[in-house]
């Protein structure tokens, strides 16, 4: 079995989650909008899961809208606000996930002014630049991720939300990578909208959620049907919703333990990588997700190293799974001011529940071997 070090791309479904889902994959399986008995039990299951998710992120269950995943949730947030609320610019962090970045950029074709917010060399928001952007002309929405999917760098969303609110703007938080890895509190962060994904926290793929304060006006992305209070048409994916709920409940009870295990392994790996010649740890000086380490080795191309590591039985990534294979260097590292060749060298290791000290040590050994071979 290969060693899987790509948990920020996706995670293995927790067997306990699958167990919770099975009744909805095997039992009488009906459209939750239908009125008869089968439909009602499906609706009850959906509402239980909504509560479980609300418990994970410190919101009210009625603030949760199911989507097909984090990407749809981010699109719904940005386009939904832009459609429902005319006027004002949309700002997004320069290191956002493509789902936020591309959704924001698409608003230009709808006549919306869109701007990226610069980050510093560590990947943290450039606060003076942000303040100037807020002050220059009205802003409708600020989109900022809680934790970056490539570097793991954690943004001070609370501070950004305060500034956004003072300027009369709404705050959207992409919490896809943060959920289940660090504590997350919708109201404490000051968020107006927040997107979540199930498959990053040992839940099934194909399901996500948008959390939204009731007062925030939003247009639907998918029209048709009155599901999710008219915000998201389409027959509910019952089994996946139940799975997301179960995964959220497990994340609540195991969060501290998972974070502790991951950070021990990550720190061990980080110490070893630092010893390698020409190593750069991205975001090294700032608070990061406990499971994530992105680094570059001078003179090596990330994609090539990735393929060699894959052949040696280690599944890692050069950055975001979505962007991989496109031959483009990480936009995150470019935004942090790294030159293209350094960005090209990036390898992301993202750890998870099943990883062990032995995995780390063997990985380090292989890495040393490859580096030594490359030098000769």
């Amino acid at each position: 079995m290969p060693v899987y070090f790509d948990h920020n791309a996706t995670t293995r479904l927790d067997p306990r989650v699958l167990e919770a889902m099975m009744p909805y994959l095997t039992g009488p399986y009906a459209n939750p909008s239908s009125l008869h008995r089968f439909g009602r039990s499906a609706r009850d299951a959906i509402e239980r899961a909504r509560q479980q998710l609300a418990d994970l992120v410190g919101c009210q269950p009625q603030q949760v809208t199911w989507t097909s995943g984090g990407t749809e949730a981010n699109n719904l947030a940005l386009k939904g606000v832009a459609d429902a609320q005319p006027g004002g610019r949309v700002l997004y962090g320069a290191t956002e996930h493509p789902a936020v970045m591309e959704a924001a950029e698409s608003l230009r074709s709808r006549g919306r002014a869109v701007e990226a917010i610069a980050v510093d060399h560590q990947g943290l928001l450039d606060w003076p630049a942000f303040a100037a952007q807020l002050a220059s002309s009205p802003v409708r929405l600020v989109a900022l991720m809680r934790a970056n999917n490539e570097t793991g760098v954690i943004q001070d969303v609370t501070r950004a939300a305060q500034m956004a609110h003072e300027a009369g703007a709404l705050m959207h938080v992409d919490a896809v990578q943060a959920a289940g890895k660090i504590p997350l509190d919708f109201s404490a962060l000051g968020a107006d909208l927040m997107s979540l994904s199930s498959h990053k926290l040992y839940g099934p793929k194909g399901i996500g959620a948008l959390v939204k304060r009731a007062e925030v006006d939003l247009s639907p992305l998918h029209h048709g049907g009155a599901q999710e209070r008219g915000l998201r048409g389409g027959t509910e994916n019952v089994a996946a919703i139940v799975g997301f709920g179960a995964a959220a409940a497990l994340a609540v009870s195991e969060l501290a333990m998972r974070a502790e295990c991951a950070s021990q392994l990550r720190d061990r790996l980080e110490r070893a990588v630092q010893q390698l010649p020409g190593a750069t740890i991205f975001g090294a000086g700032v608070e990061r997700l406990p499971n994530t380490l992105q680094f570059g080795l001078a003179g090596y191309e990330g994609e090539a190293l990735l393929m060699q590591l894959d052949r040696r039985g280690f599944g890692v990534s050069s950055g975001s799974a979505c962007a991989s294979g496109k031959g483009e260097p990480s936009h995150v590292l470019l935004a942090m001011g790294y030159p293209r060749d350094v960005a090209y060298s990036a390898i992301r290791v993202s750890l998870g529940r099943d990883n062990t000290v032995d995995d780390i040590d063997r990985f380090v050994a292989v890495l040393r071997e490859l580096v030594a071979a490359g030098k000769s």
Binding site: T10, T71, E72, E236, V316
Partner: protein, 529 residues
């Protein structure tokens, strides 16, 4: 419970589930199909093989299939994506009044963005004619969107005939084929449809996955509606849910192996069901039986109210229209578009058959419906048909242990075990009052026989309306029997609501009860004078 709601959703097929499970369960089945390592490539291969399976059922190429989260998203992507890409937001679109909400609501949204939409009205048989579509075309018509099979009536639209005509006119053609796939033969290599929406869970696949066929030659171009990592040739971003996609592929492969035999079998059973239901007089089949998908039968019943009919069938999982509109309990807009009035549109059942449906189930379902309609017609003060009985006490109970629609317990008990239904033989000491009308879909009649002292010896009611109005009649008749009208104060609407635990939404039923009782007491006082 007999499940005849396959047009709403179908059970997940065991073989499909077996195909999905490795992608939920296996130690190497969870990779992100966009990842460039072994687990990612493995998942990607499974996704691509499913793409080929879905394409095969509809005569398409694998590269023409774009995964979505379901048919609603596919319909949204087709309509908004096509118009947005062409920059023709001020253009003209032709669709119909009987489309699924996903298309109708999208069209309404497009109208708010400046698109002009012509909604065609079907003929009385529920069909949109070729000439109708062609004569609705305008010089700037960019898109025609028409469903292949209507989800409520099962009627087949002439999309095969239309496709080449629209191609010749250079108009993009989108077809919602959610109810057609796996039921009718679809061969897009022969039929020049440009965009076609599909769903997995209507075909024994999982919920939460669908697809849009996007023709490559000539290429139908779309602006993405979900932006992100550029998945699905840039048309639809977001991590692909491997297990769901594999499930959809398996479901479509399975459907392909049995489409003809299953269609013929369901067609026979559907006609058997219709034959048997015709033991009831004054019922109407909705939609053209000659152009109908094999699995759907839609029937309107005269002389019964729709909600009471559905509540009387707790052992039958059926729908009164599409599941998406049944929660709102509005009469079906599709049946109204066919020209049915609100009353008949409301008193309709959509019975949709599936692979597990048997002849026994069909017969048993028909018998339950027949019994329910008989009973409700017998309770109705205006029904003059053959099934009326003057004293209906023997037919008033039904197998209603299961309060599936969650009526207040006293309402459900009274509705399920009616003891005071009927009329009293005319006599000098018998009075009768009536309120409401069939047009208002609520009618309540109360009769009483009194002693010279004004004591109610016997009371009966008849009602046409929802279960709550029937329960109000039953409760009132029972309440006043033995009462002395000389001393008793008639219960008010508030009393009725309290006794039956009637909520705000059904307060009008209690008001009707107060009115009919007041009128009855007035008459009793009059004959005593």
């Amino acid at each position: 419970m007999i499940y005849l709601d396959h047009a709403a959703t179908t059970p997940l097929d065991a073989q499909v589930r077996a195909a999905m499970l490795p992608w939920l369960d296996d130690v190497d089945g969870y990779g992100n199909p966009a990842s460039d390592h072994r687990l990612g490539r493995r998942a990607r291969a499974a996704v691509e093989s499913a793409r080929a399976q879905v394409a095969a059922l509809i005569g398409a190429e694998a590269g023409e299939i774009v995964w979505t989260s379901g048919a609603t998203e596919a319909n949204n992507l087709a309509l908004k994506g096509a118009l947005e890409f062409r920059g023709l937001k001020g253009a003209h679109v032709v669709s119909s009044r009987i489309e699924h909400k996903a298309v109708l609501d999208t069209c309404r949204y497009l109208e708010t963005q400046g698109t002009r939409v012509t909604y065609l009205t079907p003929d009385a048989d529920g069909r949109i004619a070729v000439e109708q579509v062609m004569s609705a075309l305008q010089p700037d018509t960019a898109l025609v969107s028409l469903m292949w099979v209507n989800n409520e009536t099962g009627v087949i639209n002439p999309v095969v005939e239309l496709a080449p005509l629209l191609r010749a006119r250079g108009v993009l053609f989108h077809v919602d084929a959610v109810q057609a796939a796996g039921k009718l033969a679809i061969d897009l290599s022969q039929v020049p449809i440009d965009l076609l929406s599909l769903s997995a869970h209507k075909l024994y696949g999982p919920k939460g996955v669908g697809a849009l066929f996007v023709r490559k030659r000539p290429r139908a171009r779309l602006a993405p509606q979900i932006h992100g990592g550029g998945h699905e040739q840039g048309m639809r971003s977001g991590t692909l849910a491997t297990h769901q996609i594999v499930g959809m592929g398996a479901a479509f492969a399975l459907a392909q192996s049995q489409v003809d035999a299953e269609a013929a079998r369901q067609h026979r059973l559907r006609e058997r069901l219709w034959q048997r239901l015709q033991r009831l007089a004054q019922i109407h089949r909705n939609g053209d039986a000659a152009h109908c998908a094999p699995h759907i039968l839609n029937v309107s019943f005269e002389g019964v109210e729709g909600e009471a009919l559905r509540a009387s069938l707790p052992e039958l999982a059926v729908s009164s229209g599409s599941a998406c509109s049944s929660a709102t309990r509005e009469p079906s807009y599709v049946l109204r578009a066919l020209g049915r009035d609100d009353e008949l549109a409301g008193a309709s059942l959509r019975l949709s058959l599936g692979r597990s449906t048997s002849a026994e189930q069909v017969d048993c379902a028909a018998d339950q419906i027949i019994a329910a309609v008989h009973r409700l017609r017998a309770l109705s003060p205006t029904w003059g048909g053959s099934s009326v009985a003057t004293d209906v006490e023997t037919t008033t109970a039904f197998a209603g242990d299961d309060n599936v629609y969650m009526y207040p317990a006293p309402v459900w008990a009274a509705f399920g075990a009616v003891r005071h239904a009927g009329t009293l033989p005319a006599a000098d000491n018998v009075v009768c009052s009536q309120v409401g009308s069939p047009a208002a879909r609520a009618q309540l009649e109360l009769s009483a026989r009194c002693t010279p002292e004004g004591v109610v010896e016997a009371a009966r009611f008849r009602a046409y309306g929802c279960p709550t109005s029937i329960a109000v009649g039953e409760w009132l008749a029972g309440r006043i029997e033995g009462c002395s009208t000389a001393v008793a104060i008639p219960p008010t609407a508030a009393d009725i609501r309290a006794a039956l635990e009637i909520g705000e939404d059904k307060a009008h039923c209690a008001l009707m009860g107060e009115d009919v009782l007041r009128a009855l007491f007035d008459q009793i006082h009059r004959i005593r004078r």
